[in-house]
Symmetry: none
Subunit: 218 residues, 4 copies
DNA sequence: TATGAATGAGAGTTCATTCAT
DNA sequence: GATGAATGAACTCTCATTCAT
């Protein structure tokens, strides 16, 4: 996780308030307009401070974004690391729980993550940041898959890393596309579909499915 | 598909050459640096003409990108519409063929598609363009799924549109992550994994798999 | 009168036609948009020839204007030099005739004269051109005034040159303000007012007025 | 009168100084070179600031001009609205006073008014501004004429509006032509001539003239 | 003669950043 | 800490003019 220190840490209550206001204003504006379309003027104005004050708290526009993203990353990390305290045989339920919390986390930060994406395209450091965020979820999926393969509950021919990458991307992309309850799917339904797809994809054994197997297909 | 007409079409061979050179230079630079980091000067210089000449052929930087993307879109459309002349029962093979050509097409244009992505974030018109490009593949996947569901060869509980969206996103995202033969997967292996995931995800019936079923799992 | 030679004189009928078309197009556009807002492109396009052809016939945009103005100047000169063959005692009628023809001439060329004005402001050569055009009318007014003063028919205290300048400017300005039949005055009425003002201004003796004097004023 | 607000009003003495310097520099340069020939760089340089600073105080070159002209307009308005506290029978003296102050005001701003003229030719908004400036003087002349006509002291056949327009234009044009003490006329003489012409033009009754009538003519 | 592509100086404008107060 | 004025590099775009064909 990249550290994104302030120009100098706030020493007073007023300083803390100003800094937070800038952080919040920046996040809102980046989400609304993207990175390059947002000027320092706009950030300062929305935070209710003058132009120059921005540089009291941040070294640059980029550092502001970096710090915003740090917060987002921390939130996503915590979303992907909790849970998993389910009994080992409840594979399906664990996948479902993981999908739900990741879907929620990504949806919550969808817009700012896309801002990050657009910078990750050309900037090495942001790319690393981007991959780190994904990694926590992918890692977890990979470990789960390996365990299931070892237990003979998942298709042993699947390469764990690539599989987790692909399925992680599936969930994440879906979260972005799904912005608002598009396609008539509420969260529960979305999680349901994604989990069925995931479970099927890794060939999760019928006895590990809720109801003991998959309905309908041959 | 948005039309992206030139200021005026070239009337001479020299004009055609210059225009192409600008198009090629633009594509290279956008891929290397992203949209906003590329100046007209750089494009003109790489094309070997003066910067004023750029405006002989394009109304703006944006129009240049639009035209580049038109070419990309056309290429992806053709990649996703050919084939599928396999016998109706060879479901797995058809999915595999579709995945292969889409994976190839997206990989081929990976960088420029990400440039498009970054603009799609804040610009309505580019977003539409982006969705159109995806749509051709999603549409095809959806139709295939519906047919299989009707034949009783795929999980009937899956909502076709959302499923095709999610799986399409999986393939596309994988293509982006997979930039260079990362993870030790060559194209054949990548297509194999993705197709296995896809087939499993939709619950493709064992008798439609190559070898009559999936190895190993439960 | 400033000569405004072409880059080279037209040697063929086609050449003559092209040249005229450019001249006409230039005049129309200058009148519609002013000098600096008109591009060579626009002139060429309206004349129905290609961009580069313009320079076959004119050295520069400025030379085009110069030539257009030459035509205008010639027209105004002829308008201010004809007539005056009225009997010497018909002073009022002569003033009226001069005013009418000048008013007409200026009205006819009102817009292009203002284009000239705007350049005359900062360009010595155009200023000279501008003054020359005025001069023909002023000169005539001055000579008339001197004759009338000598005959004891006009206020002898008026300095001829300044008086003719001021009254000439009055007629000319009126022509510009009067663009279209504004103020409900038709040409006859306008000429009538201007002539009454002129005659009164120079103190034209009552016996030289139509009807032997001015109505009403004590 | 069009308002021409700054981007934001200066909050410090330094800001006020800079803004004034830009205004003064702009006025000088517009007067010397005309509007379109003056670049922002030149204005900034003459004001002794960097060109970016210009945009701290003005939104555009056009707005700079607009503000300069606002000042001019205000000055001319005040010049044409004061005075007229002379006894009602002193018609000639009142005309003379009005002519003097208008002549002075226009002379003072001659060059910038011509810049305005050149823009008024093609730009609706500047035209309106131009007419407003004239209007204050014309209006006053018209009202004066009507009163004199009612008192039987001026030619009743003259249409007030057109008459005031024409005579106003006479004075204004004279001011422009008269740039420097050309024609050997000093201000007093110029005012004298213009007032004689004006008084004669409207047929001001002899008893209202200084000395009880006009010397010499018929 | 006519064409249309190429040129490049120069325009107006933006904005991240610096700094004296 | 906060302010707001100043900076200047960089940007997109225009257009009068040149010239090979």
């Amino acid at each position: 996780m990249t550290s994104a220190g302030p120009a100098s840490p706030p020493a007073t209550a007023r300083g803390r308030r100003t800094r937070s206001a800038l952080l919040a204003a920046g996040r809102e504006l980046f989400e609304e307009c993207g990175f390059s379309a947002v000027g320092i003027d706009a950030v300062a104005q929305r935070a209710g401070v003058s132009h120059g004050t921005f540089y009291t708290w941040f070294d640059s526009k980029e550092m502001l974004l970096r710090e915003i993203i740090s917060e987002v990353a921390a939130d996503i990390f915590s979303a992907t690391s909790i849970g998993s305290r389910l009994p080992a045989d409840a594979a399906y339920a664990r996948i479902e729980a993981a999908n739900r919390s990741f879907l929620r986390a990504v949806t919550r930060h969808s817009r700012i993550l896309r801002v990050l994406d657009s910078l990750a395209d050309t900037r090495e450091d942001f790319l690393r940041l981007r991959l780190e965020i994904r990694e926590s979820f992918v890692q977890r999926g990979m470990e789960g898959l390996i365990r299931l393969q070892e237990l003979g509950l998942a298709d042993p021919q699947l390469p764990p890393r690539a599989t987790a990458s692909a399925l992680g991307a599936m969930v994440e992309s879906f979260a972005h596309l799904w912005q608002d309850p598009v396609e008539g799917l509420d969260e529960a339904a979305a999680v349901d579909v994604l989990t069925r797809l995931w479970a099927g994809a890794i060939g999760l054994a019928p006895r590990a499915w809720p109801g003991g197997g998959r309905a309908g297909a041959g």
